[in-house]
Amino acid sequence: MNENPIWTKDNMLSDRSLFMPMLISFTNLVLLILFIANLYYISLNGLQTGEIRYAGFLQIYYLVAAGLFLFLLLLAPAITVSSLSTEEEEHMLELLLETDLDSRSIIFGKLFSELSTLGTLLLSTLPFLATVFIYGGVSNYYLCLYFLGYGISCVFLSSLGIACSGLAKNSVYATIFAYGISFLLYGLLFYGLFSLQKNSYFIYATILSFILLGLLSLLCLTIGRKTLDKRYNGRNL
């Protein structure tokens, strides 16, 4: 199978940069603090009340999972929004457009490299998420739902970053657009899902959310591709 050269190149450059190790370290440090703080709270509560609340252990998983998802929402736009604008700022985008690579190859190369970064981040935090297997209380079904949601969100946020990077004239505007859209969309989604949490329609709402995010990802990738096509065919953006 031929690897996408853009993906290979971005992986190579990422390996040589301190960004990933620092990102992984920082993320895991924050999750560790959350984890230990919650354990401390449980033991303190136990000392004060003389009883151990089992639900407190479940909170560890919810905190870590929510914290990780929040990290994704906060970091992903900033990481992905520079995907195309960096190439432009380094005067490489024009040269890439002159090669045999079409806009689809460039966009997908960028998408896979962003997904690699976000996927690596998820993998590094698995030990914290795996604590749920010590205490139990969360079914495999909800675990799969979480990972599926995380995965689809990675795809959507990467696509959104690429689209904003292609549309906006500079990185600052692209970042603002990406954050604005992602916070608004996820705010509405979470509000809707939490409202339906105890409802039997919750699962349908969740599936619909995934489908919506998937479709929006396709839209963003199409926008990213169109902006690159316009760039080559010479219409000034």
Binding site: K9, E90, H91, L95, E98, D100, D229, Y232, N233
Partner: protein
């Protein structure tokens, strides 16, 4: 073959190219000269499809420029004025990356890269990260990158800019080697001297139009014939002026502070005769030479710019 036909391009209210027409035959080393901001980079970007025309047509081997057709992209190799880089990549990795972008066969990439690096004389930099490369090496690397896929047409936007004489000479050798197999080289610049021993054909771009074009030898002959003869004498200026006014081949006389510039219509033999006349008249000469052609001379004539202190026609 490259053909520009009545190309017009503007950026907002700023008109860069107006009625720009040019033909470049296969196998030519074609130089497009112009001052800064004359539109040379715009011409290169229109040719490679990175900008759209407002009107007109550009054909590259009967294919319209900017269509994104793979066959056309393969035919062109573009060297921009400023090439970016991936600082943490080595030279070999950078070239390998672009070779992959051109879908070259993996088994042939290494050999091709080594061959081109040897040709450019930068093989020793193969494993150096790009962030440490000096400007001269970067420029050669930029040319090597564009040659990876063996394009039939190499388009270079001011490749000699800000380079020392030795590097300029080395780049000329690279381009001349590349053009030997019947490939076309199209390059832009603003220093006439850089192009005289490199190009087979020249054209001059001024205010959005081509004002002069043709084979290099013919162009230089025309330029030379139009340039003034500069005479510096020690005393007897009046006698010199009388002598010059009597000669029907002297078309105009301009007095500068220490020099006299004359427009002289004659060949080298007739110049020598004039020189002999001046010496025989007992006038002491400091210098007598025909001014070399430069961009400002050529374009200044078109602009009808500043005139000398005194002009006799």
């Amino acid at each position: 073959m490259i053909r520009f036909t009545n190309v017009k391009k503007s950026f907002g209210n700023y008109l860069v190219l107006e009625d720009f027409s040019l033909e470049v035959e296969t196998g030519q080393v074609f130089g497009l000269l112009g001052l800064s901001d004359s539109g040379k980079t715009t011409v290169c970007k229109l040719l490679t499809g990175l900008l759209a025309l407002d009107s007109g047509e550009i054909l590259v081997d009967d294919m319209k420029a900017g269509t994104g057709v793979r066959r056309l992209k393969r035919r062109l190799g573009y060297v921009p004025q400023v090439m970016g880089s991936y600082p943490k990549m080595t030279v070999f990795e950078f070239l390998h990356f672009f070779a992959s972008c051109y879908h070259l066969e993996e088994s042939k990439i290494r050999g091709r890269i080594h061959m081109l690096l040897e040709l450019a004389g930068i093989r020793s930099w193969e494993n150096s990260p790009m962030e440490v490369l000096p400007r001269a090496v970067m420029q050669k690397l930029s040319i090597v990158r564009a040659m990876l896929h063996e394009p039939k047409i190499l388009v270079l936007d001011d490749p000699m800019m800000s380079l020392d004489l030795r590097t300029v000479a080395e780049i000329k050798e690279i381009l001349l080697d590349y053009a030997e197999d019947g490939r076309t080289v199209f390059l832009t610049g603003s220093a006439l001297g850089d192009f005289s021993d490199l190009c087979t054909h020249l054209s001059f771009l001024h205010q959005g139009r081509v004002i002069r074009k043709g084979a290099v030898s013919r162009i230089f002959q025309e330029i030379s014939a139009q340039n003034p003869i500069v005479i510096q004498v020690e005393g007897k200026r009046t006698a010199l002026l009388s002598l010059l006014k009597e000669d029907h081949r002297v078309k105009s006389i301009s007095l500068m502070e220490n020099e006299i510039h004359i427009q002289f219509k004659g060949d080298a033999r007739e110049e020598a005769e004039l020189l002999k006349k001046i010496v025989d008249a007992g006038i002491l000469l400091h210098s007598f030479y025909r001014e070399a052609g430069n961009m400002e001379n050529i374009l200044g004539k078109e602009d009808k710019g500043e005139r000398s202190l005194f002009s006799y026609e």
